[in-house]
């Protein structure tokens, strides 16, 4: 794993850029981690609520079924009548969105449109029971709607928490080590270049010194062997007049 690094040229600019990216990755990592923690907290809360709501739903629906049985006792089977008479839904849902640290969770809300449904049901007999039953079922529906939005939130959060955790892990275990490897690669390569440069300078200096020594030595030899050679001075031969502007 340690061999993995990005394919960049080892230059100072790239070193700087990679360092900036490392800082960015670290910030992103801590942010994502905080997000995942916040979501997990919310998730646990929702799970608890779901369990409560499921138990509550069991009770509410039991009551509702009981009141339906009362209706059946007084008014006979109204099932067929009710099924045939349902035309347009009056109990509808509005879905709203709630923002939990950047995640949009749908929240369902009931909306009752138009008049009372089945106003005339149980007109001949058992009107009270029918009304009672209706109220029971409406409260049961409210519980169900609440439960449904919790459940949707549960599924969504589950998904998103997994995704966030995966991203956190990816940054922590892949991206940051890779950037760090790149940084160490670039700096070691730069050091290497520095050393080479230094060595070359030294070498050039020593070569120059050698050449100089050699020249001095040969100069001395020629001085001893022959008369000193005077170069011709071309400036001394002619004198220019001063130019005045």
């Amino acid at each position: 794993m340690s061999a993995i690094r990005e394919n960049v040229f080892p230059t100072r600019m790239n070193l700087q850029n990679t360092k900036i990216r490392l800082r960015g990755a670290q910030t992103g990592h801590s942010l994502l981690k905080r997000k995942s923690e916040a979501l997990s907290m919310r998730f646990v809360e929702i799970v608890r609520k779901i369990q409560d709501a499921k138990l509550k739903m069991g009770k509410v629906i039991q009551n509702a079924s009981f009141s339906l049985a009362e209706v059946a006792y007084t008014a006979g089977d109204i099932g067929f009548q009710v099924r045939e008479n349902s035309k347009t839904a009056t109990f509808k849902l509005i879905s709203r969105q709630e923002n939990v640290s950047g995640v949009l969770l749908p929240v369902f809300e009931k909306s009752i449109e138009g008049g009372n449904a089945f106003e005339l049901a149980g007109l001949s007999r058992g009107g009270k029971q029918v009304k009672n039953c209706k109220d029971m079922y409406i409260s049961a529906m409210e519980t169900l709607v609440e439960l449904a939005s919790l459940q949707t939130a549960f599924l969504l959060l589950d998904e998103i928490i997994k995704l966030t955790n995966r991203r956190v892990a990816a940054i922590e275990f892949i991206i940051i080590p890779r950037i760090e490897n790149t940084i160490s690669y670039i700096s070691s390569e730069l050091d290497e270049q520095d050393r080479e440069e230094f060595y070359r300078l030294k070498k050039v200096q020593s070569k120059k010194k050698e050449a100089k020594d050699l020249a001095i030595e040969s100069n001395n030899q020629t001085k001893e062997n022959s008369e000193p050679f005077e170069p011709k001075n071309i400036l001394a031969e002619q004198v220019d007049e001063d130019i005045i502007f």
Partner: protein, 104 residues
């Protein structure tokens, strides 16, 4: 939405029948085959105007695999107890997931 006690739910006014006689509820009785249930389930879960699918638990048990495999968040599936069968929280596909999460 389907159940043998559909009546009670319809009393609240959730029933909707459009001009093609397509209803948003389905009554399952002893004669309904599993294939029909499964077909209706697919139909309801693919409908745009349905946000919550209510299904009684004993019917959900008949198509348990399909319900368990359903992972889309919208529409939501809610298993509800029916009139004559008691509610068993251990069978509910969402509660199963909840428990699995807590076991980990």
């Amino acid at each position: 939405m389907r159940k043998d006690s559909v009546t009670g739910m319809l009393l609240t006014g959730i029933g909707n029948v459009d001009h093609n006689q397509n209803s948003n509820f389905f009554v399952v009785d002893n004669k309904t085959t599993d294939a029909e249930i499964s077909e209706k389930f697919t139909e309801f879960t693919n409908r745009k105007d349905v946000a919550i699918v209510l299904i009684t638990q004993w019917i959900a048990d008949k198509i348990r695999e399909q319900v368990d495999d359903y992972t889309t968040t919208f529409p939501t599936i809610l298993e509800i107890p029916s009139k004559d069968q008691p509610y068993d929280p251990n069978k509910d596909s969402v509660l199963k997931r909840v428990q699995r999460l807590f076991r980990d």
